[in-house]
Amino acid sequence: MTGEDGWVDLARTRRLAVTTAVVALLVAPVVVNTDGWFPLSTYPMYSSTRGVETTFVTAQGLTGDGNQRDLTPSLIGGSDDPLLVVGELRAVLAAGRGDERCAEIASRVSSRDDYGDVTAIEVVAERHDNVARTRGDDDSLVNREVRARCEVER
């Protein structure tokens, strides 16, 4: 029934029915096995088995003498959130727009004086031994593939 202030004061059976419906709604993505019903979810984060090696996409700067220089998330993706930057870069590469993104990164780098030694950008897919890399081993790189390359114009 509806109270005089407009809020619904439900009888016990109706509260029970609504509670059951809430449970069913929350469990539904698990039954259907989908993670695309945000904000409902199967919460699969970090639930799968994972091997030691992973291929990551990222972007790196190249200096005039050919050395690599790490960039920041805000230079790579225009955001300080690394997870968002990685996800977006992966989507961009999957859509075949690596060159376009490379040019955007080069444009951001060109406006930064502290990256004045960077003359080119490479968008790369690198396969690493993650355990070795986390331990600080220098030989964690298994494979490196350049997906896009562009010059930094100043």
Partner: protein, 307 residues
């Protein structure tokens, strides 16, 4: 357990306190994350991969819509938090947050730490959380309408549902590890690889590596019991309904688990880390009353000291 939920009675102040806690948290969250939400307006529409309620839409909404949604959601959030025109304000607040977080998740990167926050806000928006401690309550007092103040299921049931949503979320997350990772998830190697993966990913994108990632990868023996404990905590979430001691123990364990995830993987779940996800479980109004009494006790002391 179902009886504890549908028959749960609570004072109006408890639900109102949850309104304030969740409202303040979500408004601050939206302000802090506003650059992320505003940046959605500039994203290439080709990358749009809609989820949830945005699935029917072929194209991402324009920049003006995103900016308007953020401003309106913030305004509604402030109104709902102070209890001004609560019912429409809370609906708009929950709807706006759902829209913004769904939109943020619609670009191929599901982060999962906003789900529970959205779900609990939706529950709160459907509840009479402004009967006390609100501008609406002040206005109704002035116009002679008495506010219902007796503890009842009217206030307790929504709190129990918000708690249930949190509990089910954790159980599903725990079950997912066994469902997708199998029993191997518990041997510690999978968890070590996840920790190392998170650290390597951050390192390669130019972020700061997690504080304790290197330490736990070096001493990986600790991760087998840690994996078991993490799954046990998640699956044991329903014990919060047994009683206060069980509730407190579980909340402490879950909070420490999130601290551990943050320290080893740099993955922060803001709502649990700030305690907001667990807030529906607690008699928040007692904290408010204790704080008020503490302030009132200090006032005369201060005035005497000043003179």
């Amino acid at each position: 357990m179902i009886g504890r939920i549908v028959d749960h009675a609570a004072p109006a102040e408890r639900l109102a306190a949850l309104r304030i806690v969740v409202g303040v948290f979500v408004v601050v969250y939206l302000v802090g994350r506003s650059p992320v939400f505003l940046a959605l307006a500039d994203r290439p529409t080709d990358d749009f991969d809609p989820v949830g309620l945005l699935v029917p839409f072929a194209a991402a909404p324009g920049g003006a819509i995103v900016i308007t949604a953020l401003v309106v959601t913030l305004a509604a959030g402030i109104a709902a938090t102070i209890g001004y025109r609560y019912r429409p304000a809370a609906m708009v607040f929950a709807g706006g947050l759902s829209f913004l977080t769904t939109l943020r998740s619609s670009w191929g990167q599901l982060l999962h730490f906003e789900n529970l926050m959205v779900l609990q806000l939706v529950v709160l928006a459907c509840a009479p959380a402004s009967d006390v401690w609100s501008l609406d309550a002040r206005r109704s007092t002035r116009t002679g309408r008495p506010g219902p103040i007796e503890p009842s299921t009217r206030y307790g049931w929504p709190l129990a549902v918000a708690s249930l949503v949190m509990v089910i979320t954790y159980v599903i997350a725990g079950a997912a590890k066994l469902r997708y990772g199998g029993i191997d998830w518990l041997d510690g190697e999978t968890l070590r690889n996840h920790v190392a993966y998170s650290a390597a990913r951050l390192d390669l994108i130019g972020g700061n590596p997690p504080l304790l990632a290197e330490l736990v990868v070096e001493h990986a023996w600790i991760l087998a019991p840690a994996a078991f404990v993490a799954v046990a905590i998640e699956l044991a979430a329903p014990i919060v309904f047994i009683g206060p001691r069980w509730r407190n123990s579980w909340v402490a364990a879950a909070w420490l688990m999130h601290v551990g995830i943050l320290a080893t993987m740099s993955v922060g779940f803001p709502s649990p880390l700030f305690g907001v996800a667990f807030a529906p479980l607690f008699p928040l109004e007692r904290f408010v009353r204790s704080t008020r009494r503490w302030i009132e006790r200090r006032r005369p002391f201060r005035s005497v000291a000043a003179s």
